[in-house]
């Protein structure tokens, strides 16, 4: 039973981690919070819904949601960040991104309605009995996809020129420019990747919860933001670990305590960890690893 809950928690946590990594990447390169990131996540899930209803395969649904979210993320950078970068205060982008988030939320309400809608299962899921743990193929897909995306991201950040350009920009944009890196392009690329991961998380969590609402992004977005702090500001690995912890705590609290307080337990554990380690689990590093 406990091992089973642990696996369920890791599955949920993997998707949370994908959202938190997005906040982390963007905070890393800009030192600014992107408060519409939860809405980018939500829009990605709705694009997935539209694709799934149109009969696309699970992989095409996932890829389409990631692509749409990436494009949306780049648009948000253009509309809400670039015009106020190097001008105005740190508070300005908070306001502009909240505004963009509200527009996205209301746009989705306009198109799909404010009520929760059912998200179709990607396939008839089979159960795999592994001794103490019973996994469904859907759970495997969700967990496997989030782990694979995180591994790909690590590889990208460590081993490709574009990934190294993003890390250099996160550490010092002026020096990155002096190395011949187009810093504006690195920032756009960061938004595209962060948002694509959010879009993927949107579809994965919609598969998990089998339902979707226009306000889905508020809850998950807030949790992603908190996980970023938990892992250590700007620390990609910290966001991964933090996401998994929060997912596990949430599932265990539903299983052993009370399901109506799941978010309260998750946030309480985060507050406790931050009291002991104010810079987060792995410390603020503003970069991968």
């Amino acid at each position: 039973m406990f091992v089973q809950q642990l696996v369920n928690g890791l599955m949920l946590g993997g998707a949370y981690a994908l959202v938190a990594i997005g906040y982390t990447l963007i905070f890393g390169v800009l030192n600014l919070l992107h408060l519409a990131h939860g809405e980018v996540f939500m829009v990605g899930a709705y694009v997935g819904l539209a694709l799934a209803l149109a009969g696309f395969s699970p992989w095409a649904t996932l890829a389409g949601a990631m692509l749409a979210a990436a494009v949306l993320g780049v648009v948000v950078e253009r509309v809400a960040f670039r015009p106020v970068r190097n001008r105005g205060s740190h508070v300005t982008p908070l306001m502009t991104t909240i505004a963009v988030g509200l527009v996205l939320q209301h746009g989705v309400v306009k198109i799909f309605g404010a009520e929760p809608v059912a998200f179709p299962a990607p396939f008839a899921s089979a159960s795999l009995d592994l001794g103490p743990v019973t996994l469904t193929t859907l759970q495997l897909l969700i967990l496997g996809t989030s782990v694979a995306l995180m591994a790909l991201l690590e590889l990208f950040l460590r081993a490709t020129p574009a990934g190294m350009a993003i890390r250099a920009t996160a550490e010092n944009p002026t020096v990155a420019g002096l190395m011949g890196i187009n810093v504006s392009l690195a920032i756009v690329l960061t938004f595209a990747i962060a948002s694509a991961l959010a879009g993927a998380a949107g579809v994965l969590l919609a598969w998990n919860f089998t339902a979707l609402s226009p306000f889905f992004g508020v809850r998950v977005g807030l949790k992603g933001l908190a996980i970023m702090l938990l892992g250590g500001l700007g620390n990609v690995t910290g966001a991964m670990v933090g996401g998994l912890i929060v997912g596990v705590v949430e599932v265990l609290s539903v299983a052993y305590l009370a399901s109506s307080y799941r978010d309260a337990f998750a946030f309480a554990v985060m507050i406790l960890i931050l009291l002991v380690r104010p810079t987060g689990l792995l410390g603020a590093r503003l970069q991968s690893g």
């Binding site: 550490e171 020096v175 420019g177 190395m179």
Partner: protein
């Protein structure tokens, strides 16, 4: 002495920070594969001049001609792609990346080419100590090693013009001599060096030409050996009676 055959030619450059005029009508020239020194007191406008050349700050007016092309208005990364590389004051380490990663990023100017073996070989030959430390985080290096890494990283771009801002700052005398022993060797590979230094004696000893800046203007220029002997330079910058 602007000279039309020069690699870099700055003409009548004016740079301001808000209302503060940091550079006021400076003209300098750097010949191909030569070391040229800019000396002068703190706040004379030396660093500002380098920042304007590399595109970090846009001049109010003036011309920065490099191989016949005006660099004014180009974004920083485009200036680097033309192989004009600026090592800023304070070395600009990417402290949380390894020595090798710093060097690889220095080669980014080649447009994302990933085989940097020839550049790395050249750098290892100039700075053998970096080869031993290539897996270490740049932030864990000593000050002298960081300065070597800063120069080595810039050399990865195969610069035609290398601009060094205060390479001796904060280093022990022995390391300062080591850095100044290496600077003339950089020109052997066809790199011209524009050197900003407070340590005027060391700078003049390794440069061919030099300019003396004072409150944003060139007040003296000529062959470095002549400036070393000039009484006004000795009095103001070399600590002679």
């Amino acid at each position: 002495m602007p000279d039309s055959s020069a690699l870099l030619e700055v003409q009548d450059l004016h740079v301001s920070y808000g209302r503060i005029r940091a550079v006021q009508g400076v003209s300098i020239a750097v010949p191909d594969a030569a070391v040229v020194a800019l000396i002068g007191a703190n706040g004379a406008g030396k660093s500002t001049l380098l920042r304007a050349i590399s595109g970090l700050i846009r001049p109010r007016r003036g011309v920065i001609r490099f191989l016949g092309e005006d660099l004014v208005g180009l974004p920083v990364h485009q200036v680097v792609r033309r192989r004009v590389v600026h090592v800023p004051e304070g070395r600009g380490m990417l402290a949380r990346m390894s020595v090798l990663e710093n060097l690889r990023l220095g080669g980014f100017a080649h447009g994302g080419r990933t085989d940097l073996a020839p550049e790395l070989d050249r750098v290892w030959a100039l700075f053998p100590v970096l080869r031993d430390r290539r897996g270490q985080l740049a932030g864990s290096l000593s000050g002298g090693e960081q300065q070597m890494l800063a120069i080595a990283r810039a050399m990865m771009a195969r610069p035609r013009l290398l601009m060094l801002d205060e390479p001796s700052l904060g280093l022990a005398p022995l390391l300062v001599r080591e850095i100044f022993r290496i600077i003339p060797r950089l020109t052997a590979a066809g790199t011209a060096v524009l050197l900003v230094e407070q340590n005027a004696r060391m700078a003049l000893q390794c440069a061919a030409h030099a300019y003396v800046l004072q409150t944003g203007r060139v007040v003296l220029s000529g062959r470095a050996t002549d400036l070393l002997a000039a009484p006004e330079v000795q009095r103001a910058y070399l600590g002679a009676g």
